[in-house]
Structure formats: structure tokens, C-alpha cells
Symmetry: D2
Subunit: 148 residues, 4 copies
Amino acid sequence: MPVSQYAVDVALRWSDMDAYGHVNNVQFLRLLEDARVAALADWLGNHDMLDSGIVVNRHEIEYLAPLVFRPAPVRIRLWPTAITATGFDVAYEMVDPPEVGTGLYARAESGLVAFDFDTGRPRRLSADVRDRLRDLSGETVRFRWRRR
Amino acid sequence: MPVSQYAVDVALRWSDMDAYGHVNNVQFLRLLEDARVAALADWLGNHDMLDSGIVVNRHEIEYLAPLVFRPAPVRIRLWPTAITATGFDVAYEMVDPPEVGTGLYARAESGLVAFDFDTGRPRRLSADVRDRLRDLSGETVRFRWRRR
Amino acid sequence: MPVSQYAVDVALRWSDMDAYGHVNNVQFLRLLEDARVAALADWLGNHDMLDSGIVVNRHEIEYLAPLVFRPAPVRIRLWPTAITATGFDVAYEMVDPPEVGTGLYARAESGLVAFDFDTGRPRRLSADVRDRLRDLSGETVRFRWRRR
Amino acid sequence: MPVSQYAVDVALRWSDMDAYGHVNNVQFLRLLEDARVAALADWLGNHDMLDSGIVVNRHEIEYLAPLVFRPAPVRIRLWPTAITATGFDVAYEMVDPPEVGTGLYARAESGLVAFDFDTGRPRRLSADVRDRLRDLSGETVRFRWRRR
């Protein structure tokens, strides 16, 4: 359960469906990407942490219900978690917007590392950025299907 | 470490790169999908378990090195693990083919469930299929970046 | 110049950009696809002409300005043209919504054929459908770069 | 009919199929892109004309037969045509490799312009490059579905 209810609505594309007539499992991560791009711009602004200074080092996702293309967007709730000196996780839930329904389609988590492309090494997040992330932060995801 | 060395070479596409000039992190899962489609056809044949009777319920992936488009394919080693009555995991390593280099780009795991689309419920794998999967099976993946 | 000003706004995705940092030329057709899916549902409804009964037999597109990802959508104006007994063209212009700018990014045309999947042959459009299409129809596209 | 029989085999991906169970019409252009990237590297090398110095200003494609995912690649024959001082067209035919079948899936043409990214303007092709392109060149495409 996120403490914050920050969310981004992302439009589906007809081509997100695969030959089974459902939104393809890999496309779910594509949808999360767009929510994350919007959220990071919003959370971190363009000072201190450019989008290009963040590297994804991990994704974990579980699928909870099939999703079919429709004109209405999906709502992606997302929040920072597991904040460290050099990075943080983003936790996600993909749901229906309330006016569309009550579907819960997926839960996921991405590991992000702040990176200095000049030196080729991880870099420290500023105290300001960490404060802002902590204000938005919530619990880590409890995955249903995780094996171990 | 896989016991089996089953592997599928998958061609990159120029468009797999994103605006950072690297193969996009989501596209890694697209490459794994093609290796998995080839492997399942090979491992399970078309009797008993059609491709359409397998549902992905989970992915976990960690990124170990950036990958740039090149004419040479990536090699995806993959093997079944965590076999149960109704499903199994596929573990993956994405590497360079030996003639190209020694890169290790990603490790991943997908959860697969055998599914009966008529009844809308998971179904049991046949003893034959489980035997074949066990012959090919290897260890679960030890993720470097997993937080918990 | 369209007689009709029917238009659909389509959201860009960050991943629409390629390694050159522009929306990839092939993705332009992906954006047109979503505008067309929305327009056909709107123009033709679900009676008489299901989406699945329309086949694309041709695309022509010319690129007029580079497009970079941004949160704002592109506006795609589209209208039927060259209506025949068994099909029609869709003409498109991809532009900025007025509140975003005055960019003109591409002009395009797709050939559509009404198709009967049971018989595997083109089929006639009903008089009703043709009337509705004619009410919306405009000129064919004058391409700037067409060679011949 | 090409004079030259230069061709590139491109692997399909399972995800190239859309909800109709056929390779999506937009993905055809994705397949052509990979053939073109390989061909331009081969035809032009890395001296004089970098890949990044070529801009697509036009595509035209017609679809001749539906294509379904299979492990075997498609063969894309391609050749330069309509060579001018600052650009050329690439003509394509997408077919089965001979060992797979005799399918002809699409014909297409792309307009390419040599571009100087520093000045933001088209630039002249060198005499050497034009000579090499002329050696490879063939007829322009005769489209079956072109309306006008």
C-alpha cells in the first residue's frame, strides 16, 4: 500500500496487444517506463538529477490480471522506496482509473542508480533529492508470485 | 550456473536502442521472449502443451552491462527451474556468443503457468512434460541486485 | 487540406525515440495506427464494419520535421478519401495541438480494404457506410517528396 | 525487378504479430529498417557517409500477402534507385528465402537524404559514393495499389 497516492495515467496503444489479444507482458514494462519518465521529471525536476543520470539495474514484475486494449488509459501508482546514498527503487501498481473499473493488473519494482556518465560510476544523491524522495516514499512491494 | 547449456541466439535490431544509444532495458525482455518462444517449442513440442497454454505470471531481470546494437546476435542461455505440478520458471543469462566476446549482459527469471483457456484455470503438467523439463533443469538465478 | 477537421490526439512515449534522439520514422506509422483505430471506431461504429474487417494494403508517408518526445501529444488530423465500392484511403496530417505549437511533422495516406475473413475476399461497403465516409471525406494528400 | 540481387535476411520476432495473428503492417517497415541499416553499412562503409548522416524523408509500402511468425527469416531484396546529388531511394521486396517458399509479402520504397547535422542542411554525396550506388542500382518500384 503506498503512503503516497502519486499516479500517472498512461494511454494504451492497440499494438500493445500480442497475438493472444491481450496487452503483451513485456509491454507492461513499457507502460511503467512512461509513468516513471513522467514521475522522475516531476519528483526530481531538471536540476541536480537529469533523467540521463539514472540507470535501471533491475526490474521485477508480477501479472495479476489480463489487460485488453481500450481507449481508456491505465493508472500507474508509483512511489520511491528503499532509498540509499546512490539510488532508490520505484514501486508500481497498475490499476484502472476509478471511473473505468477496479482492476489491479500488475505490481512491479525497478532498481534505479544515480550514475555519472563522465566518470562511468555511480554517484551520490544530494541531500535535497533524498529528502524529496523520502517525502514521497512508501513500502516495498509484497509480491504474490515470488518463489523464494 | 546452468547444468544444461541450452542456448538460443537472438538477432538485435537497430531499433532496440533507445535515445541513450543502448539497447533499452525493456527490449532485453523482448529478446528473452524470443528465446523462450524458441525454447518452449523445442522443449515441449506441440503435443500436450501448446504455446498458447502457457501464461507468464512474473519476470525478474537484472542488468549487468550496457549493450549496443551490432550485427552479431546475443546468446541467451535458458533452462527450466522450480518445476511444480502446474508450472515452472525459466532462468536466463544473456551473453556474447564466444566468437564475439565474453560479455554478460543480464540475468533473468520468468514464472510460467500452464493454463487451460477453456476453463480459465491453471492445469497440471503431464508427467512426460515434467520429466523432460527436469532433464533440462538447472539452478535458480542468484540475483546480484535483489534488495531483499 | 481536409474539408473535415476531425482529429485525434495521440500521446508520445519516451521509447518512440531512437538512438538519434528523435521519434523514429517507423513509430510515426505507429502513432497514425492509433489515430486510425480511434477514428474508425468513431466513424463506422461496431455495426456493419468491425475493425477486424478492414485490411491495410498500402501506406505512404512523408516526413516534414523532426519530432522529439515531450509530455504533450501530437494531433493527427485524418479523413477518408478515394472511397470506392470495397474500400477507401485515410489521409493524415500530424501536427502540434494549437496550445503546443504550429509544427507540421508528417503527411500520410493508408489504403484500406473491407475484407470478409470467412471467404478471404474483399467485400462491398454498405451504402450507409459509404454515405458516412463521404460526409467526412476530403482531398487526397499532395506529397512534397514523391518522386514520380 | 532489381538488376542487383543484393538481399538481407531478417529474423522475425514473435511480437511482430498483432492481435490479428499476422505480422503487423507497421512492423514490416521495422523489418525493412534493419535490412537498410545492414545494407547501408555494407554499401557505403563508414568512410564518407556515416549512418547518422542519412535521413529518411519518405516511405511507401504496399502489402501483398499476410505474413505469420515463423522461425525462418524473411529475405529483403533492396537496391538504390533514383540517385541524385544529395540522396537516393531504396527499393525493397520482402520475400521468402528460396528454401522456405515463394511468398512475396511487400514492395516498398524509402527516400533518403544525405544530411549534415552540423549545418542542419542536406549535403552532396561524393562522386565515389554515387558511383558505388549506381553499380548497385535498379528500377524504381511499380506499385500495384498506388491510387494515382
